[in-house]
Symmetry: C2
Subunit: 398 residues, 2 copies
């Protein structure tokens, strides 16, 4: 199949990822950080190297401040719930994924005041607008690095600068950019960075992490054994143990490390260049199809590899269904766990068809996806297609 | 090596577990529950079948009430923090792992009153004592099914009965028993069961689950995308989605499912019988060595496959080190994330050497472990061994 759902989970992974996971599962999956025998030490080393590989890729000076989590959602929950207290003010945007929206909603019920900065119709956030929303109670700004619906890249460097001028830290949700768009943690002076392992970083599902800068002190949100200071009835004070309760996913982290190494050796710049090339071709092709509407900015420099579109008069679910069934093309349709972003771009409640290519997507894959979309749109135009969601033939336009 | 650290993480896994994980990683690791294309549907099926396999093994009538978690610690955190509110009373024991101790300590700081039932020196908990600690504010009893330090099995059937007589639910921490000791959720009328995937169930690290009976209503503790009711800014009301935020560990759950199927086909009874046989041999052999003290009950029926021992006058760390270095035997030493259990049995603060065999441990492995321990104890006796923790030759006893 032609897999264009990399924004949900990347596929395929580099061969080295599969191999590393299998090797570690078979040979080094003792408990890391618990026991002292050779296989446990080997498991420890796997975890250590995973942290080192990620640190190198993101230019993180303190690898021990990379907290492994089972996905970006868990990382974001730790960042938000570990920092924000009742009475605090937090700024976010209306382009956020439910992994930020839902924890913030929960916190707002606990007395945290949440301000949502409005994005433009293209999904852009204005650093000045965010800065002007800062009050003396503002404890955090939490924004996505790129919309998971339309790919618009947030100007995080400018937002971080503006926020730091007022001594407010920034949490970056890098779900759509980690591994695919260069992020230099030290140069940007990132306070917190939440990343999934299973998307651009080519790790398996079940992995992710939160980077926490030395300036940030979070309360732990999950409590349990760490293999360290086991005499205490509270979490240890040092990182990463303070935030890593229970047995870590050693084989998963091994795969994540292999993914990070793969990207480091290819160069994030090369990944980004490939994705921009592919993205450009995709947007170009889709835009030319009569009846197709592509959302978001046409400026490739400000886009991650996510393209949302609709075909006039057609249910996105029906388009996705046909792309899969008739053309073997996998996409994601609907509102992509980000209802407000669809309200911003005007595609709520039915949502869009989202094509998200990746580093392994070829120009030929893109051409076939464009061609298939063209056929579906033409069939709709010529009344040859009955939408899945309608029991009656669709009424012709015009 | 001879791996006797199965209480931390089981090793090896059945070949089917390795194969299933690799297959799913390569062929079905799209995002489960998010997209509608064939690979996403396949990922969905993997998750569904994982739940079904676990349900069959534990006789769980409602598979949708199996909440996947990244480890037992996360499952226990959900159970405890999702249920207990300030002012509530909870009963636990002094045999618990830090995965129960630490969340309860956190909750006690939020106003939950925690009573700790005292275990006997053998680690036994008395259902009558627990029952008599119930007050009208008691909202939960949380106990381990078997001590991770000395293996003593808790009489959960009796505790559940006594608790239900007073309408109090019980949370079972099955970290040391899931997959190795039969647990019939429906027959026992279990309220909540927390299990790691990577121990007796033969799944990979990064997996685990909480079963929540229909009588229990938990508040979600992690918030984020579920792929369902994405229009809501709160978690959906239905299970399992209500408690499963973010992308699930599809390949891990595939491996966990394969592990559960392996056990189901062998029969938990057969696993238990093998482990009792091995355990008996181990305890017997260790007990005969002069200077060795084995902790816990000698009644194999009341023991999971965990054996703690010390050698008089020797640091457990030094014993573990020598077992690994000179004999290639992997064990875990220290206090095993359960400081209070060591206070109960009298081995605090240095702890014990813990040997935890598994289903793949052979009688020959056990014999070699006994022999090695005998050599170490004899060397100590004959002043041939300098403990690692001492810079000077050890002072001979007597």
């Amino acid at each position: 199949m032609i897999y264009l759902d990399n924004a949900a989970t990347s596929h395929p992974k580099p061969e080295s990822v599969y191999k590393r996971i299998d090797f570690v599962l078979r040979n080094a999956s003792a408990n890391p950080g618990r026991s002292g025998h050779r296989m446990a030490i080997e498991a420890n080393r796997v975890i250590f190297e995973g942290r080192e590989s990620i640190a190198r890729l993101f230019n993180i000076r303190h690898p021990e401040r990379i907290i492994f989590a089972c996905n970006a959602t868990a990382a974001l929950n730790l960042a938000l719930k570990g920092l924000l207290q009742p009475g605090d003010h937090a700024i976010t945007s209306d382009m956020e994924h439910n992994s930020v929206v839902r924890p913030l909603k929960f916190l707002s019920q606990q007395g945290v005041n949440v301000h949502r900065a409005q994005a433009s119709r293209e999904g852009s956030l204005d650093p000045d607008e965010i800065s002007s929303a800062i009050t003396c109670e503002t404890r955090l700004i939490a924004v996505t690095h790129a919309s998971n619906v339309i790919g618009t890249i947030t100007p995080i460097a400018e937002i971080i600068k503006a926020a730091h001028n007022k001594e407010v830290p920034v949490l970056i949700d890098a779900a759509q950019t980690a591994g695919a768009v260069p992020i230099d943690v030290e140069a940007l002076d990132v306070d917190m960075l939440a990343c999934p392992g299973h998307k651009g970083l080519f790790g398996p599902q079940g992995t992710g992490f939160l980077y926490v800068s030395p300036k940030i002190n979070l309360n732990p949100t999950v409590f349990g054994g760490t293999g360290s200071r086991s005499d205490l009835d509270r979490m240890p004070d040092f990182l990463p143990d303070r935030y890593e309760a229970g047995t870590l996913n050693t084989p998963g982290i091994a795969g994540l490390g292999a993914g990070a190494e793969f990207i480091f050796s290819e160069g994030v710049g090369a990944v980004r260049m490939h994705e921009k090339h592919i993205l450009s071709r995709l947007i170009d092709g889709l835009t030319r199809i009569p009846g197709v509407r592509v959302y978001g900015t046409g400026d490739i420099e400000r886009r991650a590899a996510v393209v949302s579109f609709t075909i006039e008069g057609m249910d996105p679910a029906a388009i996705g269904d046909r792309l899969d069934t008739d053309f073997g093309i996998g996409v994601r349709v609907g509102i992509h766990c980000a209802p407000d972003a669809h309200k911003v771009i005007g595609s709520y409640p039915k949502g869009t068809v989202r094509m998200s290519p990746g580093y392994f997507t070829t120009p030929e894959d893109i051409d076939r996806a464009i061609e298939a979309t063209g056929v579906i749109a033409a069939d709709r135009e010529n009344h040859r297609y009955i939408p899945v969601s309608s029991p009656q033939p669709a009424i012709p336009r015009g």
